[in-house]
């Protein structure tokens, strides 16, 4: 699924954990690993890195470290394109301060602009994370069938124990208020229909895919999907949230938050953005 993994490293205290996590993913996907560091290459850093690598990736044949100088976001994205990376792994803080939110941190900028899929880890661990409880965004969007297909493949590889696919009813309150012009039976019927339609949408996508042995639960929410996704992830203490991406986000989108922006504001858990 993901043949070429890239990991952006910054020699932060979390670097070792991130490398361990990437190592685990390489094992699952049987791919190769590229480490990207934006900054000056010094003998000390090199020594530090090789020491960590020997601890976690000693047996790894296909591994490459790229040192580049330049603006972090641009350089990381450009390197990923040059190397034809399938999945970029990076660490991010759970919550950004108000200022960094508007100006953008490296991690969030990369998430927004990357052309390859991005896995953002908020709490990388040296003993690695098992993505056991996974939430997939099943909101009706153009990219959703692809997100579900890729997401399920990821879950299969990872052997997740629970997979929840969340879909939302758009403008539920307004629709129900409008339906309120009918009789009680009609209103109940509309309510059922609204829920059933959303289940059918996800079920339709699942039916078109090869069957898996995963435990899949379809859940329908009402309200803004990004907010509901975050809430749901928090309530079940999900390990991973998988969602698609809306292209072309700009500063305006941060002033008037889009759905993806709503999730990026406070990351509820680890996040995989499928592109």
């Amino acid at each position: 699924m993901y043949r070429k993994l890239a990991l952006a490293i910054a020699f932060s205290p979390r670097m070792e954990a991130l490398i361990a996590e990437a190592r685990k993913l390489i094992q699952i996907f049987e791919g190769e690993l590229i480490l990207i560091h934006v900054g000056t290459k010094t003998p000390e850093l090199e020594a530090q890195l090789s020491e960590v690598l020997s601890r976690h990736c000693g047996d790894l044949q296909r591994i490459k470290t790229i040192w580049k100088e330049g603006k972090p976001t641009k350089t990381i994205l450009k390197t990923c394109e040059e190397e034809k990376v399938d999945l970029l792994v990076l660490g991010a803080l759970k919550k950004e301060g108000l200022l960094t939110y508007y100006l953008g941190s490296v991690a969030r900028k990369v998430i927004r602009k990357s052309t390859c899929s991005v896995l953002t880890l908020i709490e990388p661990k040296i003993e690695t994370t098992h993505f056991s409880k996974v939430v997939i965004n099943g909101t009706e969007l153009e990219i959703t069938p692809r997100v579900i297909a890729r997401g399920l493949k990821f879950c299969q590889a990872e052997q997740s124990s629970q997979v929840h696919i969340l879909n939302e009813i758009k403008l539920y309150g307004f629709q129900m208020a409008t339906a309120g012009e009918g009789t009680e039976a009609e209103v109940a019927n509309t309510r059922r229909k609204l829920v059933q339609e959303e289940i059918n949408y996800v079920q339709g996508i699942l039916d078109s895919l090869e069957p898996t042995n995963l435990k899949i639960n379809i859940k329908v929410t009402a309200g803004k999907w990004a907010v509901e996704l975050v809430r749901f992830c928090e309530s079940i203490e999900a390990d991973l949230l998988i969602m698609g991406d809306e292209q072309g986000l700009s500063f305006i989108d941060r002033l008037f938050p889009h759905d993806l922006e709503g999730v990026l504001e406070v990351l509820p858990c680890n996040l995989l953005i499928v592109k």
Binding site: Q175, M176, A177
Partner: protein, 414 residues
């Protein structure tokens, strides 16, 4: 505190009961005929008012609606509140995040669907003032009003039609809904500016009023919304549900309304903007929205719509020529504008036409706008009647016309 006398109370209660009863009967009939409830409620008012009841049973009409000034005043207060609440839910319905997610096509449809009818509505009275019996000094303001009055799409009517036609969740449906939301927002902004031009009792000068209007809008949509996002989770957690959120949102709605009324730009504007900010908040649950809608739609809205018919004689003020002129410019403006907007964003001609027909539905907002203009002496009763007829006709024809446009498409060989 003054209070109503024994007789006043009885009269007021009789009024309210009659209005609600007749409105309900006609709303049910309208729905059986696949028409929006609003249409039935307005007709109920025309029948209870001087137009019909005043003609066939003048004594009864006189006794019920004219004989008791104190009860009339009390009713007027209730109707005022109804208008404010209607605008509050109109604001709640605007979901900015949906608009942004629909992107360019929604913006293009709604802007063209706003600008073209506005231009039509503006230019017709401006160049043919004779048609509307206008004097030179009123021409500019009247033309601005007419432009605005023709450009606001009735969101609830549109949603109902789209749901009935199973189009709500389609790309076209979402684009129409998002377009109508942008329409609402901009239309009311323009109207608030016109209101300040009319210069009704306000405490501030014209430029200040416009400045403060814009400032208030920006404030409500940014800091106001932010504050709501902080307060709502607390209310949801600590206060009774849905009691807490209901009474607090009403209270703040009235506060915002009082503030804009004080500015001199009419109470409804504050209620509308507060509604937008509240509706866009992440923490107002859909269930709470549904409850707010239900009690306003079924209790206050009918009182308002019936009250329109009570105020005006639709027969003596019916001017066929005027009605036709307004109908033509309203149909042409909206269908050409929104239709072209849709066409430009890549819809086929038939689909674009369907979008235009859908956006053509006008309703409560035009009527409220018209009523305020009437109260401020900007328009006369004949024009008001023509506007109400326009709202009725556009709402009633939107669904059949959309069906027609889409059926035509189905017949075509693919």
């Amino acid at each position: 505190m003054e209070s109503l006398a024994h007789n006043d109370v009885i009269n007021l209660l009789l009024k309210l009961a009659t209005m609600l009863l007749v409105a309900r009967i006609f709303a049910e009939v309208a729905q059986k005929l696949k028409q929006p409830a609003v249409v039935g409620e307005i007709l109920a008012g025309i029948i209870l008012g001087p137009t019909v009841l005043g003609m066939i049973g003048p004594d009864f009409f006189e006794f019920l609606f004219r004989s008791n000034p104190s009860a009339n005043l009390a009713l007027d207060g209730i109707v005022q509140m109804a208008v404010i609440l209607l605008l509050f839910i109109a604001g709640l319905e605007v979901e900015l995040h949906l608009v942004w997610s629909q992107g360019k096509s929604a913006v293009s449809i709604s802007l063209l669907g706003l600008v073209v009818p506005f231009v039509f509505g503006f230019l017709t009275p401006y160049f043919f003032p004779g048609l509307f019996g206008l004097t030179e000094e009123k021409k500019m303001l009247f033309s601005l009003f007419m432009g605005t009055a023709l450009s606001i799409t009735a969101l609830p009517v549109v949603v109902r039609i789209l749901m009935d036609m199973n189009l709500f969740k389609t790309k076209m449906g979402m684009v129409i809904v998002a377009g109508a939301m942008v329409n609402d927002l901009i239309g009311w902004l323009i109207f608030s500016v016109i209101l300040s031009f009319m210069g009704k009792a306000g405490n501030l000068s014209l430029i200040n009023t416009i400045g403060i209007t814009l400032l208030f809008t920006v404030f409500m949509l940014t800091i106001g919304k932010g504050l709501l996002n902080k307060v709502l989770p607390w209310t949801n957690k600590k206060l009774a549900w849905p009691g807490g959120v209901l009474s607090l949102s009403m209270a703040f709605c009235f506060l915002a309304a009082a503030f804009t009324e004080w500015l001199g730009i009419h109470a409804i504007f504050g209620a509308f903007l507060f509604g937008v900010a509240l509706g866009d908040s992440d923490h107002l649950s859909e269930k709470a929205k549904e409850i707010i809608h239900q009690f306003i739609n079924n209790i206050f809205a009918p009182l308002f719509f019936v009250s329109i018919g009570l105020k005006i004689n639709f027969f003596t003020n019916f001017d066929l020529g005027l009605v036709l002129v307004i109908l033509v410019i309203s149909f042409a403006g909206k269908i050409i504008g929104s239709g072209y907007g849709a066409f430009r964003s890549g819809y086929t001609l038939k689909d674009a036409l369907a979008v235009g027909f859908g956006m053509n539905a006008r309703g409560a907002m035009e009527i409220i706008l018209g009523l305020i203009a009437l109260e401020n002496g900007l328009i006369n009763e004949k024009i008001f009647v023509a506007l109400v007829v326009m709202a009725l006709v556009t709402s009633m024809t939107a669904a059949p016309l959309m069906k027609w446009a889409l059926n035509k498409k189905a017949e075509e060989p693919s």
